[in-house]
Symmetry: C2
Subunit: 397 residues, 2 copies
Amino acid sequence: MNISKRGQKIQPSPIRKLKPYADRAQEQGIHVYFLNIGQPDIPTPQPVLEAFRDYDEKVLSYGPAQGFLELREAIADYFNFYNIPLNSENVIITIGGSEAIHFSFSVVADPGQEIIIPEPFYTNYNGYAAFADVKISPLTLSVEDGFRLPSREEIEKRITPKTRAILICSPNNPTGTVYSEKELERVVSLVKKHDLFLIGDEVYKEFVYDGERHKSILEYEEVKDRVIVVDSISKRFSCCGARIGAVITRNDELYQSILKFAQARLCPPSVEQKAALAAYRMGKGYFNEVREEYQKRRDILYEGLKDIPGIVIRKPQGAFYIIVRLPIKDNEHFVLWMLTDFHLNKETVMVSPAKGFYSSPGKGKDEVRIAYVLKEEDLRRAIEVFKEGLKKYLSLF
Amino acid sequence: MNISKRGQKIQPSPIRKLKPYADRAQEQGIHVYFLNIGQPDIPTPQPVLEAFRDYDEKVLSYGPAQGFLELREAIADYFNFYNIPLNSENVIITIGGSEAIHFSFSVVADPGQEIIIPEPFYTNYNGYAAFADVKISPLTLSVEDGFRLPSREEIEKRITPKTRAILICSPNNPTGTVYSEKELERVVSLVKKHDLFLIGDEVYKEFVYDGERHKSILEYEEVKDRVIVVDSISKRFSCCGARIGAVITRNDELYQSILKFAQARLCPPSVEQKAALAAYRMGKGYFNEVREEYQKRRDILYEGLKDIPGIVIRKPQGAFYIIVRLPIKDNEHFVLWMLTDFHLNKETVMVSPAKGFYSSPGKGKDEVRIAYVLKEEDLRRAIEVFKEGLKKYLSLF
């Protein structure tokens, strides 16, 4: 009576497993600045909260497996605004971006097959790869060149007969890198050449700074049939706990197959879909303010960290994360020490060991991911505390 | 560029695929009595709806992967009331009972391995089996003996070296059968003997009639470590659209492994968990009224159908479904005909072809599942219309 191999193989979330140490620090009266997870402090927009208050059905019943038509239309409209031709029949509402990832992996690959993903990557890809029994083939990027994609030849080396898809996350979690058109074109031409699917995780679409715009892989006509986009309202509208995402494809065969996976779990939560609809109905103006706020935070963080002796840091272009290399040997030891052995006037900082974002063994042990999810005042103070902590840590180890 | 084998293999929901025909009937001004799906018309309790209205957090943020502690405690308390010793550390909140099924399948079996399930069975097991690439080994039951479990020897014949678990759904969807202690003991002793897991889908726990009580597989101490229970608030509190369920196990290794699957999808919806908590806080009195209502409906349905010439029908003991054999050859043809070619004063009835609840080819083609999810007046009228429709159908085919 052993649990399944996949049940043994799946890794605990490297972000969540350190949480108990933070809890303990808090119990001891220490204020912890959480820069470790992508939980923004931006208030959830009023129309979303009002949608919960206004819910007035008598029976909280099942909805359609693909999600409510109105919400699918609103999402198609959202993309249409960016000149991406989509309609409601290209959209399936999912239970968070998480489920969109799970559906995408399962529909392109069978057990034992491979999906190429540039690393460091969003750690939950690992969870779904284990769940779906699919192998992630990592394409290792490096902090020195700002986690840009390598040459066409380097990418091509990762392609094997088992490869089924390439996944590109841009703006990137955990690196903050936004891929250029040139980088995207490289991948687009490779999926065409090798007859692969292309999965785009674009949940941070609105979070691109310095006046740049996000280029979606949905904009490449020549791979229209190969593209699956993972989307979510979690960060876009500061609604992480709503668990509403979407999977988008213009390949009808893919759509119908994903719909069957969706039917197995009946439907996404009904009330939360109404809340999501209220979010989309706010219009595009909402994002400008949020984007400005995050750009400011990014600048504060970058300026605050860049002069740390021995740091390797490149300015990220999007999302709300940065990965930096520090003059440390074991990031988990450092992150734990900050929680268990250090405080500055009863304050400390939690960041994420970047090790968990790499699947290649030994990679990323001297890197940490920092999420700029706190408001200016808190972020400034957190940087101060972080630098003091690091200084003391380096004097000891 | 082909979609995955599992993406091709997964069947469309046999219940949902006929929905467009019902839509068309409605568009033509025909009133359709939906006895095909388990969507009760019982109003969602006020405290649940109020929980949505009262939601007052500023940021709709991620919750814990295993669900909010308060809700896990409330569920443990609910089982404690039935003298089942559980605590919050045995409960993981899931996104509907659906996710609890998915987690259970994935944690006990690897691709290619088998789970024995008595058939006819809840059709979404098929979906998750395909999704998790696990094989369902059906143990065929029959309407003549009220879908009771067969002898120990008959069950044992299904066990192979690839078998990892037996799944028992009681009260049963789609048959309405509630297994006796003797039947459960048979299965309990077999999982012990053959070192298997035992999955119990007990989401209809409260729906047992005639003063009988539901026996949970959690009550069998000798298989404490082997048991996983799938639970859900959907039917219990008429909250199908909330998507809140739970997976329950007292095997810590299983728990930890399921928790890792849960971490990959971050968390269940936050607001809906608060609504679920409000539901559990109503206390046990709530169920008595609901149970009485369903028992009345069951009696109306049973009495209304039992004299149909050629019907094979046994009185179900629980849940809110019945499977009957009719003197027809092709249930899908019959169900479609009722939607497309028949109406009685602009009214018709939709039931489910039972074929979709069997995985053995050719089984159940002359059976239909009827869900008694409508209030007395509607149910009585639906039975009348159904009988007229069947009479006319039999005169034609």
